[in-house]
Symmetry: D2
Amino acid sequence: MIFGSDNMLGASQQVLDAIVRANVGLAASYGADDWCAQATARIADVFECPVEVFYVSTGTVANSLALSALVPPWGSVLCHHQAHIVNDESSAPELFSGGARLSPIVDASGKLGPAALAQALATAPHPPHNVVPRALSLTQATECGLVYTPAEVSALAKLAHDNDLYVHMDGARFANAVASLGCSPAESTWRAGVDVLCLGASKNGALMAEAIVFFDPALAEDFAFRVKRAGQMAAKGRLFGAQFCGWLDNDHWLDLARHANGKARELSAALAAVPGVEVVWPVDANEVFVTMPTALATRLRAAGGVFYDWHPSALPAGRVLGADDSFVRLVCGFGTESAQIDALLQAAA
Amino acid sequence: MIFGSDNMLGASQQVLDAIVRANVGLAASYGADDWCAQATARIADVFECPVEVFYVSTGTVANSLALSALVPPWGSVLCHHQAHIVNDESSAPELFSGGARLSPIVDASGKLGPAALAQALATAPHPPHNVVPRALSLTQATECGLVYTPAEVSALAKLAHDNDLYVHMDGARFANAVASLGCSPAESTWRAGVDVLCLGASKNGALMAEAIVFFDPALAEDFAFRVKRAGQMAAKGRLFGAQFCGWLDNDHWLDLARHANGKARELSAALAAVPGVEVVWPVDANEVFVTMPTALATRLRAAGGVFYDWHPSALPAGRVLGADDSFVRLVCGFGTESAQIDALLQAAA
Amino acid sequence: MIFGSDNMLGASQQVLDAIVRANVGLAASYGADDWCAQATARIADVFECPVEVFYVSTGTVANSLALSALVPPWGSVLCHHQAHIVNDESSAPELFSGGARLSPIVDASGKLGPAALAQALATAPHPPHNVVPRALSLTQATECGLVYTPAEVSALAKLAHDNDLYVHMDGARFANAVASLGCSPAESTWRAGVDVLCLGASKNGALMAEAIVFFDPALAEDFAFRVKRAGQMAAKGRLFGAQFCGWLDNDHWLDLARHANGKARELSAALAAVPGVEVVWPVDANEVFVTMPTALATRLRAAGGVFYDWHPSALPAGRVLGADDSFVRLVCGFGTESAQIDALLQAAA
Amino acid sequence: MIFGSDNMLGASQQVLDAIVRANVGLAASYGADDWCAQATARIADVFECPVEVFYVSTGTVANSLALSALVPPWGSVLCHHQAHIVNDESSAPELFSGGARLSPIVDASGKLGPAALAQALATAPHPPHNVVPRALSLTQATECGLVYTPAEVSALAKLAHDNDLYVHMDGARFANAVASLGCSPAESTWRAGVDVLCLGASKNGALMAEAIVFFDPALAEDFAFRVKRAGQMAAKGRLFGAQFCGWLDNDHWLDLARHANGKARELSAALAAVPGVEVVWPVDANEVFVTMPTALATRLRAAGGVFYDWHPSALPAGRVLGADDSFVRLVCGFGTESAQIDALLQAAA
């Protein structure tokens, strides 16, 4: 009955096996090992294009470093008002960018729409007095558990590029999005205009491994300096390389994501049938957002249920939380089993 | 014949086993798991005192973050001119400290002596015009492979504290130093005046695990913010906790270090017997620094020997490198075997 | 017909005379001169309390430096969504604070109200994952030309202090506010809970002089380092001291502000009578915000009128700008004469 | 008898007159005024080339901002170990550069020589592990009161450029150097390879005015953002423009510098004749460095003499200060009169 976060599981067996295999023998340090080389080659295969890839230990540092390559210290990053980079990464983006600014755009639809983006871009900045928007950051899947279609990414990216902004994608749950869309990784990224993808594996089967994937090598020119200076040039880089190899092999990453997504849909359907529970966002990926009587939430937790209260600001437009209601998030992972869902439902009964 | 660095090996079996064991099941994220709690308890045991511990992925970020808690952005850190923080960590110390300064002190004895430190402290700063020294950083074992005795640390720390400087220890090879000294971890750190220790496991048996150990909890007050903001609050912190548990269990860390140190002495003795080779620094820990004819170095490498040319600035006082000579470093690790040493010697013959 | 900004005039005669007088002879450098000492004594008199004062060259650096003393790099500053620190000071606040964040609060009433502030404070931060609000910044007079009463400041400051936030006041037009309120400088600042005031003289009679006034000396402890490090420890600090002496002498600063405020009211009344012109904010200080047919704005400019188009986001709640209308700001200064207003009105006729 | 610093005087009459004249009337703000435009045109004339010029309030911010345009945050600035940027500007260079590093080069000759620079450049950096030298900073006149000839600048600049370093000149006393050399401003700057000059007026006749002069416009591309973000985009920029106009008119700046240099030579000659006094550096510009019995220094100060004790590290190579001796600096300015020198000499008698 643990639905707290998809980061509460360890690594999948296939990823763990890769770590164990990679542990043997001597290897070049600082990412110059064969495992990293292989991982990068596989990422290029998966995305069907040449890529520059850098491996880091957390999503926070992946996003912050990637953005630091896109915006100068006097620039700003446009993003959805629920973006993880705004709400959950302290001021890491400011640290690594040398003091650039995040400019959240309110869009109560659970993702960023072209209208809201266009409005944010409508007022031309008055340089050098204002910060100047230089990047758009999209989260895929979004913090409300929604997924941008390739066409949606494309429309947003076009607007961004037309205004001299680069496009960054926070792909902490990119696997879940791709599994949900059924499209190719290329279609939902560079073919739709994404310049840099933070490809997260930690939430979906790895222990600690994130890849920053540059589709435009020019943007990566000085990036090794940024990685080193961030204290992210790991001595034994093979730990990262091995995890990505294990994760990508035989579409393992998508299998894991499909499992998590399926369980989330299952959980959502089951919860929707519980009196007093309302599912507030479509379940595109592996997260379920519901309102429920606070009394019920308390009961579920007493029975061992683990899930987080969520920010009311993440409710759909116009939705007001009742005084006796709670807004909560439940997340399914690659290891979530139907038995856990059944147990939760029983406790709710 | 690989003596390039002690970071070219993977994890020891005991550490790897701990990772595999810790991988099972659900655990609280962001370092709130049992493995981290156990690791911290063991570190407290090892150092015989209460400690505040934070786990991070690299030595660079460990040092930089620790120093950021000791000096304000207008402060400076005094250190030996060969210090890793000065020579090998890009400007990470500046990044994480918000722009504080490193002030290297030249001491050609291979470690920092009280005379050189006293001289550096003799000129009172003229605040706010100058940067103000606020921390002393010592590397244990030093970058020349020497070890500070507790008495030496104590003398330096007293000078530092008398001048309102905190004392930081870069312990990337702390295990090797303790194994060499035969003293207790406490004696060579807080009992000698060290305020914060960066306890490195990655070079000596772990895959990717460094601990920042505060002996003065007051200094750690806001440190969780620094860790988060550095992108180092790992979602699955158990990876760090497990490695430290495996590493510390049954003095495993000291066994590994003793092995490496012993092999380094063996290598040093063997090389000293080769005509034209001179060992330039005592082998206190697991590093061997020698000069040799460049022709010999070339021959050894052709035969498969791996070791790095080293900075002439790391030679002892007055030692000038001959035009046909090379100054090289050879490092032994927990996995170095005598057979490798023999092979190198044969190639040298 | 120049109503572009109150910074388009030079210094008042009294301020200029002080500069000329202070220019004579030798004086201690870096702010240790008699003029700075006298200026600080006068500021203490004006505010009826002990103060720590630092002089800098611009409002941007005054605000940014003051805030840097109040919030750590992982903290945030709450402010009105029209605040100058958000919209017109590039990312200087991020630079000087080491990467802290500005969190604008939308309040369409032209100033920040307690309800909006309370709502922003309602969601407790989840440290260390989120940035933590540590300061409230109020602009007096506001960017919409309104003035906070002492009671309003007091209510906001109480909310702030109750939540462990310091209170900063951007007083670029503080003189105009005090002249408008008719209260004492003390009443509208520290007696109402303001911890630090940026007292701007440049917009109201000085050439280049801003004072950072700490009412709580503990907050100023390391501030000289911040000033020096910002490149603001002027060699010939007497330039700042002299301007403040001239500006404060015999309530000159309030006379200048009263003049500017009076002309603004005069201008506002005159414009309100022009068909098609609507004054959108009460004229509490020296700024007039109006909507007018774009054709009229064009005609006025052709006749020599200088004033800026203003951000539609600064319109009152619910006010939508007509397609053929312009939203403009007109500012009166200490040198504005009725003749200029008459000329503008004639052009409008 | 005030020889403390050339910043203890106010503005020259001609500069003050320019300020008074420029104070009249309305002018565009933020440096878009006619006075700034004229000043920039004059600087272009003086240097016989197109220039991009930015005006700021102090030498510290001028140097720091200029360097920030030349080196990335992972780069370093090579400079003489006595450089003002290292010793007297706190960590402002780190602040404005986002954490780049200063790498002082010890050269006991009172200026940086090509041999010392070549040695510093001899060890190729090992990117991204090390900081990478990207700029050379020269001070003209140097902190020991010496002047680089155009040929010397040229030799150093060639070395720098050959190693992909830009050349910055800290010209806080550039006027004194040019007056001393008798060469053209162009010869000692861009024709010798200088890329950016910080042209200081504050120490030599202005009240508060420094110009950052880019000889390569490409380097200035984003510089307005840096100026704004540093809080240096002064609302009433005409204050800077006017001072430079007054300062440059009719070679006034060189007249002032020639006067100061002449008085320094006069003072030096007079002091050299005093028993026990030794002039330790040639007097190329307006600074005199001497050793004298501490008893004499005390006597001179008791009689009203003002001059600073200086850092022993600024003594010529091999010179050791006697236990009873003091090393002091005396500075002459545009207002220094022979009567003051005579008075000092009398006190010394």
